[in-house]
């Protein structure tokens, strides 16, 4: 929000000479330019054709029929300069082009013969619109002087080349001073208030001739580039111009020495204050869709380039990284790209410089960012590409420019100095140069990972101790019960004990020890009946056995078989020679078959 800081004093006489002097090369040049490439149907375009250089005297361009326009000569100006002892001249011809219909037209190349050779200008494209564009203030019918009297021959207008712009998008403000009356003193110009904009003057002033409603005006135009600072409606305040013009209002027609004459002579004419209408510009916010991550608010059209001043350097030898952002836009406010992490380098502060050009009444140029880098490791060091994002208002889109990657070959310390021990002792301490990822691994491949929990067969590892304890505890409890009631324990164990014992008998028979087998067989039956009855095995007799079986309600065949077996085994126990193996085996089988039936007796 910077006001134009200086007042302009416009002198028509000086303005007539205000054609910029050009240092001319020997080679003649022939150029054509227009003050605007887009014009409304009720506006005019000023075509300025310039010949400069040696041999241009006497040359006059031929203006062909310009489709879409009616051309009216608006005068010529000549400039002669002396530079380094050489004389060169420049002649400019101005033409007012009045558009006839809306559309896109091309001013064709103009030709002129200079030094016997034809010279041509480049074609110029001009667009004629049906309605006035931008925040153009209407031409005042009349503007007032200080006394309230209407002034028809002098007025001030202000307009912008667009009525809607994005934040940061350049808007060209044109303040035009229209004059048909001669001025008696230098006017005092008050620039408009441009709060809400950043601004940049666009010299030089332009002078042209314009025909409005059939009247011919001399137009002096001041251009300023405005950059809206925030979204909303921004207003360019009125510009003012204080001047003095001739006043013949008191004249009597027959009085040659009328009051008007004396008024102009003694009082310096009539004071006039001209004021332009304010101009509104609708400022749009920059779109959020598509905004790059690194966007910092730069608006315009730019190109990015980066370079190092060396391709190789010694260790710790400084190199300069130059980053240039070039294009159109608010160059002064450019932020430039951020430096990415530069592993292997120590970066110092960045200094910037500005190259501004306002040719063609556009703010363009470049901003150069220089950073000193010091390589801290040797080898081939790569600088990653720089990225710069900006908003292109013409395309209404964000763009990202990327510079090319750079590389620097860094040579290490002098090897000979290291060998002879003359290399300086290093005073470096441990330094982390970059935060980067670690290298890849050579680890094994395997199929999809196991389920969360990370420990296979978890229950299998943890059940055995519990199971083991449970078993031991049960065993101990059983032992305890057995110790507390041995008879009951014997009773419960009788069947299992007898079955185990029969296994022993079988083993003895297999070994051929029939005598021992018979003895064990007899003992088995005796112990079984003893365990079941609670009687001592030594005192158990056949009668006891019979009574026992009868008490338990044994079936006759079970009882009979049991007692038969008892008798034969008792006899064999005391008879010399005992039983033969076959007989013992037969008894063994009998007892084996009998045991389940006997067990059943005690389960009733």
């Amino acid at each position: 929000m910077k006001k134009i800081s200086s007042l302009f004093k416009i002198t028509p006489f000086l303005l007539a000479l205000a054609v910029p002097l050009r240092l001319r090369a020997d080679e003649p040049s022939f150029t054509a330019e227009v003050d605007k490439t887009s014009v409304a149907l009720d506006d005019v375009v000023t075509l300025r054709v310039t010949l400069s250089g040696d041999g241009v005297d006497g040359a006059k361009p031929v203006i062909p029929n310009l489709p879409g326009f009616r051309a009216t000569p608006a005068g010529q100006s000549q400039n002669i300069s002396f530079v380094n002892g050489r004389v060169s001249s420049e002649v400019s011809y101005s033409y007012i082009l009045q558009p006839q219909a809306a559309g896109n037209y091309t001013i064709p190349p103009l030709t002129v013969m200079i030094g016997g050779r034809p010279r041509s200008t480049a074609p110029i494209a001009v667009r004629v619109t049906a309605a006035a564009g931008g925040g153009t203030a209407a031409e005042p019918v009349a503007q007032n002087d200080g006394s309230g009297r209407a002034v028809k021959d002098l007025f001030l207008t202000a307009s912008t080349d667009k009525g809607t712009a994005f934040v940061g998008e350049p808007v060209a403000l044109s303040v035009r001073f229209y004059s048909r009356a001669p001025l008696l003193a230098q006017p005092a110009y008050g620039p408009p208030d441009t709060a809400g904009f950043l601004s940049e003057d666009l010299p030089p002033q332009k002078q042209s001739v314009e025909i409005r409603n059939g009247r011919r005006f001399t137009v002096i135009e001041l251009k300023t580039a405005l950059f809206p600072a925030a979204p909303g409606t921004a207003v360019v305040g009125p510009a003012t111009l204080e001047c003095r013009t001739e006043d013949f209002s008191d004249d009597s027609p027959n009085d040659p020495f009328g009051g008007g004459f004396f008024n102009n002579f003694f009082s310096g004419g009539r004071p006039v204050t001209l004021k332009s209408d304010p101009v509104q510009v609708k400022v749009l916010p920059l779109p959020s869709a598509g905004r790059p991550a690194g966007f910092k608010g730069d608006v315009g059209r730019y190109r990015l380039s980066a370079s190092l001043d060396k391709t190789s350097a010694a260790l710790h030898e400084p190199v300069t990284l130059t980053v240039t952002v070039q294009g159109e836009g608010n160059i002064k406010a450019l932020t430039g790209p951020d430096l990415p992490p530069l592993p292997g380098f120590k970066a110092y502060d960045t200094l910037s410089s500005l190259n501004l050009s306002k040719a063609g009444w556009k703010v363009q140029g470049s901003k150069v960012f220089k950073t000193i880098l010091k390589p801290e490791v040797s080898g081939r060091l790569a600088l990653p590409p720089l990225v710069f994002s900006f908003f292109d208002p013409g395309a209404r889109a964000y763009r990202t420019e990327t510079s090319q990657p750079l590389a620097l070959t860094v040579t290490g310390a002098d090897a000979a100095a290291v060998e002879t021990g003359t290399a300086p002792l290093s005073t470096e301490t441990l330094k982390v140069l970059s935060q980067d990822i670690r290298y890849i691994k050579e680890g094994p491949l395997r199929r999809r990972p196991r389920s969360p929990g990370g420990f296979p067969l978890f229950p299998l590892w943890n059940l055995p101790p519990l199971a083991g304890f449970a078993l031991l505890w049960a065993a101990k409890a059983a032992r305890g019960r057995a110790a507390a009631d041995p008879d009951a324990a014997s009773f419960r164990r009788a069947g299992r004990r007898a079955a185990r014992s029969l296994g022993t008998v079988r083993a003895l028979l297999d070994k051929g020890d029939a005598a021992s087998a018979t003895e064990v067989l007899e003992k088995t039956l005796r112990d079984y009946l003893s365990d079941k009855s609670g009687l001592s095995p030594q005192g158990l007799s056949g009668e006891d056995a019979a009574r026992l079986l009868e008490m338990r309600g044994a079936a006759p065949e079970v009882s009979g078989e049991t007692l038969r077996l008892w008798d034969e085994l008792q006899t064999a126990r005391y008879a010399p020679g005992g039983l033969r193996a076959q007989e013992t085996a037969r008894h063994l089988e009998s007892l084996r078959k009998l045991l389940p039936s006997l067990e059943a007796l005690w389960k009733k």
């Binding site: 935060q435 980067d436 990822i437 670690r438 290298y439 890849i440 691994k441 050579e442 680890g443 094994p444 491949l445 395997r446 199929r447 999809r448 990972p449 969360p452 929990g453 990370g454 420990f455 978890f458 590892w461 943890n462 101790p465 519990l466 083991g468 304890f469 031991l472 505890w473 101990k476």
Partner: protein, 241 residues
């Protein structure tokens, strides 16, 4: 005899005609070589081929994360690092690379989910050892009496309970489903574009996956106590079925 010779000849020709198929280990080595040469795109392609064929392992996921990182795909790199961390949660290189990827994504306020989840394995071993010790002491105590034995059993019991609780917490934590945002997410209050926007999640951020409905998945940011819904296409799960 002639028929056998003909069959053998045909077999010897068939293998070259069919083309040599690389083994997974060879493909992995080839991918590593591409990475070492700086051809990160080729390395990524090979790693992804192995992964799509059902191969995993923390090294494969880690290397794939590195390749994505070098190609500037930081969110995807982060996703693969998280997948590798599922298998090797205490790998220091993995954690470092995951943190670097997070820093590149500009994520500075994310808390790591439950450190306990990384200790399920060691806790399981510790629990099993305590289990053996505790029940071993109990069994010993069935047949011997000693005051010190009682204290030993008591201590082992307390430790076993503690380890059991920690293991349960770790397993509960490890079973949580996580995802990574693959794009900037505008989380909604419900599953649908017409639902009110609840919060914005930047690309690369880790979220908890809480459920799904149609094309939408419910996501949570436990550290900030946020829950919302996002399109399934914008979130990728860390744990793949």
């Amino acid at each position: 005899m002639e028929k056998i010779a003909a069959a053998l000849l045909l077999l010897s020709l068939w293998a070259p005609l069919r083309g040599e198929e690389k083994s997974p280990a060879d493909l992995f080595r080839e991918a590593n070589a591409s990475y070492q040469k700086g051809d990160y795109a080729a390395a990524k392609e090979s790693y992804e081929k192995l992964s799509s064929e059902g191969w995993a392992g923390s090294a494969l996921n880690y290397n794939l994360g590195n390749a994505c990182f070098r190609l500037g795909q930081f969110a995807r790199a982060r996703l693969w690092y998280e997948r590798a961390l599922e298998e090797a949660p205490r790998d220091e290189d993995l954690r470092h690379n995951r943190d670097v990827a997070r820093a590149r994504l500009g994520i500075t306020d994310e808390e790591d989910p439950g450190v306990l989840a990384a200790w399920v394995g060691p806790l399981s071993i510790f629990f099993a050892a305590l289990n053996f010790l505790f029940f071993g002491l109990l069994c010993w105590g069935l047949f011997h009496r000693h005051e010190g034995l009682w204290w030993g059993r008591a201590a082992a019991g307390v430790l076993l309970l503690g380890a059991g609780a920690a293991l349960l917490a770790a397993k509960t934590e490890a079973r949580r489903d996580w995802g990574v945002a693959m794009a900037r997410i505008e989380a909604r209050a419900g599953p649908g574009e017409n639902q009110a926007a609840a919060f914005i999640l930047p690309e690369g951020r880790r979220v908890e996956l809480l459920g799904g409905e149609g094309d939408w998945v419910e996501i949570g940011v436990p550290a900030q106590g946020l829950k919302g819904w996002a399109l399934k296409s914008t979130v990728e799960a860390v744990r793949r079925s």
